[in-house]
Symmetry: C2
Subunit: 452 residues, 2 copies
């Protein structure tokens, strides 16, 4: 449809407006901005001609935006998912342009949320707009459910999906929150890691102590934290939690062979994407398998003691670490949490108390690549990008995929247009504009294919 | 002298004024307050009748306050040392009364610096005042050198002492910055641990990374930091730096026997002073020896990654830890630093760069208890407190003692009136008021004894 090529300027302008809203869901001070982003989505859906547009409110939570268009009897129903909230932008001084003032450089748009997930959510909205503004109708039935708490655990949508399976009835979901394997390579993601994210707290003395007076006899929670974290992994990165790997299902020989054929250069990956001294992890496991099909234990932040300028000789009374486990099929978040807690209890050194408290979680998911909704998506992408679509997995976690499976009994089609170097959750997040435009057309093509 | 008992109210009022000045030398935003505290000291010395009062300025540094009174020919000359700067007050929410609004509860005055070291510095000032306001003369010659950078490494005084050995000529120094072993027990400290304080930085990827996308292949500087810190000590707290213990001189059998006779109850120490699950350190080394005569390695703070509310799945690009080593005779700060750096180089895991950069240091010191200046101090304290003076060591570090020895070739008399539960460097720092008043009298008695 020429609508899509004719409206690129308007699409870009709309995306910029969306990105200017600092809808950081982890930050209470941005609550009003998150609401504003929800209204932006609702208004856009209404203006396109979607029906029953609704902001689903719940005390203490950010709204879910729902809309539907169900005037294609006999055609399948697709549930479109995205999220309008974003990660915090810190550290701010590493951004080359302000995170909430979208800046275009080298065909990329730079802003927090550019790719994750405002840009990709907007791809879905614009694909719908094209049909509705030209034909006045969609080729299939559509429900949209766009949330504002993806980056804080998605509690609201979890409860809503569990309680509204009837209202959300669909044949498949499209989740537009993943990436392409390489810039020109159409990609469908058929596996996601699950996650358990929580806080490890370690408590020592009643109060902060002077390290001169008490050093040598008083427990140091930061040292104890270091000992626990160090003991949870060996030097190759293998996790030392008893039973942790028991349920890990290795990739099939076919999947491994397909991954081997992907255009992947380990040196380039290290140099361009990571930029560290070397990669880590067991040398006998290929890199893609490490990030797609192996579980992880990561520490995301440590808080404790004196971290200002200069010297303060304090033994802190407590320390806190943000810790997550990424899980792969067939690990279970509840079981992994209990395994971690048991391991910590055993590893806690003398003098301190340590506790791991989960704050969010979601199971891993595997989607059957022979599913017809997956196939049509692969065909649509192949047509728009002019190349055979590849099937990959993602190391990330999209808990909604598990929820849709559990409560709606539908597969999720992970059709993503991000790129591996998009700096998700990091400074200088970007979205490649050619992928933004082709993404809109690929989703439109997909709906067309499903409607014929 | 009745002057001392008659002026307790004025002494207390003056101390409160001194404590109200937030002279936090580690915090650039308090620079003006630190200057104000220097002027407070200079004005007090001038008002008492000390001569040649001078604020010794140096670009980028807080002033040294110098004063002297040298009108007792044939009598010894004492150099009085104290510091008017204080540690940061954080964490503020753990203070029962604001740190810079002195509050009196149960015969204690609570404020940052109450004991360390404004209260004890003020003890020296008031002892001088008593003689000068009554007899108009001091029993001995006195030089005062009060600094404002003790809590940030004392760079200014270090340079000044090195360059002004002639001007500072004295027979002994009194350093009033230590504590009594127990509330009613007069105490002289004859040993101090040295210190090396610095920053351990660990760098991984070029930028913060998404732990879903890269977790399992990208190095995590916080994990690497934990591995390094954990490997630097064994589970008993023994430091695993090659060569680190080679120069450690064990206490003499006499000193060990004297320590055994001190009123020390390990359970009470754990419960009242530490308040943790248990003490740490090698079980075969008595607790007092662990904190007085054993070196330590402590982590004072870790900065890195996401530490806000909620969840951010980031692999941080870098991490920083504040780390110190306390040293005992005959360890050397330079050698210990090189040993630590070599150990870190060996322990650094794959994928990251780690570096330890010292920011301050000072050698350990041992003072000969048979020195006559020490004996007179012990006698003066015994008389005022009505009990035999005990000789102890301190686990803390007072770099000035090493400087005085190195450049002025004089011993330092560590006559302290703090108490073990004074919460130095911690919330709710206090000074026991009866010790404040008796401290003034004990210093006066000491000067009197030396002058006869």
């Amino acid at each position: 449809m020429s609508y899509y090529s004719d409206h690129r300027e308007q699409f870009l302008e709309g995306l910029k407006q969306f990105l200017r809203i600092p809808s950081v869901s982890t930050a209470p001070e941005h609550a009003a901005d998150v609401e504003r982003a929800a209204r932006f989505v609702a208004d856009d859906l209404r203006n396109s001609g979607m029906e029953n547009v609704e902001m689903i409110q719940k005390e203490g939570h950010h709204p879910l935006v729902y809309a539907d268009w169900l005037n294609a009897p006999g055609k399948p129903t697709l549930l479109l998912y995205g999220h309008y909230d974003v990660q915090p932008a810190e550290p701010l001084d590493e951004w080359l342009s302000p995170p909430f003032e979208p800046d275009i450089r080298n065909e990329n748009i730079y802003a927090r949320g550019a790719s994750d997930d405002k840009g990709q959510t907007y791809v879905l909205l614009k694909a719908l707009e094209g049909f509705l503004k030209t034909a006045g109708a969609l080729p299939v039935n559509i429900r949209c459910l766009i949330e504002g708490e993806e980056e804080v655990g998605g509690e609201h949508i979890e409860e809503y999906v569990a309680q509204n399976a009837g209202k959300l009835r669909a044949d498949a979901a499209i989740v537009c929150d993943t990436e392409m394997f390489a810039p020109e390579l159409p990609t469908i993601c058929v596996g996601l890691r699950g996650i358990v994210y929580g806080e490890l707290t370690v408590e020592g003395a009643r109060t902060d102590l002077h390290s001169g007076v008490y050093g040598g006899a008083a427990p140091n929670p930061l040292q104890a934290m270091a000992e626990i974290l160090a003991a949870l992994k060996d030097r190759d990165g293998r996790i030392q939690i008893p039973g942790f790997y028991d349920r890990v299902r290795p990739p099939s020989p076919e999947e491994r062979a397909a991954w081997d054929r992907l255009p992947f250069n380990e040196d380039e990956y290290l140099e361009k994407e990571i930029g560290a001294e070397s990669l880590v992890g067991p040398a006998d496991i290929p890199v893609l398998e490490r990030v797609w099909a192996q579980p992880t234990l990561e520490v995301h932040g440590i808080r404790g003691g004196f971290i200002g300028e200069g010297a303060k000789t304090v033994i802190p009374a407590r320390a806190l670490a943000k810790v997550s486990m990424r899980l792969v099929a067939d690990q279970d978040p509840g079981e992994a949490t209990r395994q971690l807690q048991a391991a910590i209890a055993k590893l806690t050194p003398k003098g301190v108390k340590a506790k791991f408290q989960p704050i969010q979680g979601g199971p891993p998911s595997m989607i059957d690549p022979t599913n017809p909704f997956i196939h049509a998506a692969a065909d649509a992408m192949a047509e728009i990008f002019g190349k055979q679509t590849v099937y990959i997995r993602s190391g990330g976690s999209i808990p909604i995929v598990g929820l849709f499976k559990q409560h709606l009994h539908i597969p999720s089609v992970l059709m993503g247009f991000g790129l591996p170097d998009d700096n998700l959750h990091a400074p200088n997040e970007k979205f490649h504009l050619p992928n933004f435009y082709r993404g809109i057309e690929a989703v439109a093509k997909y709906l067309q294919l499903l409607g014929t």
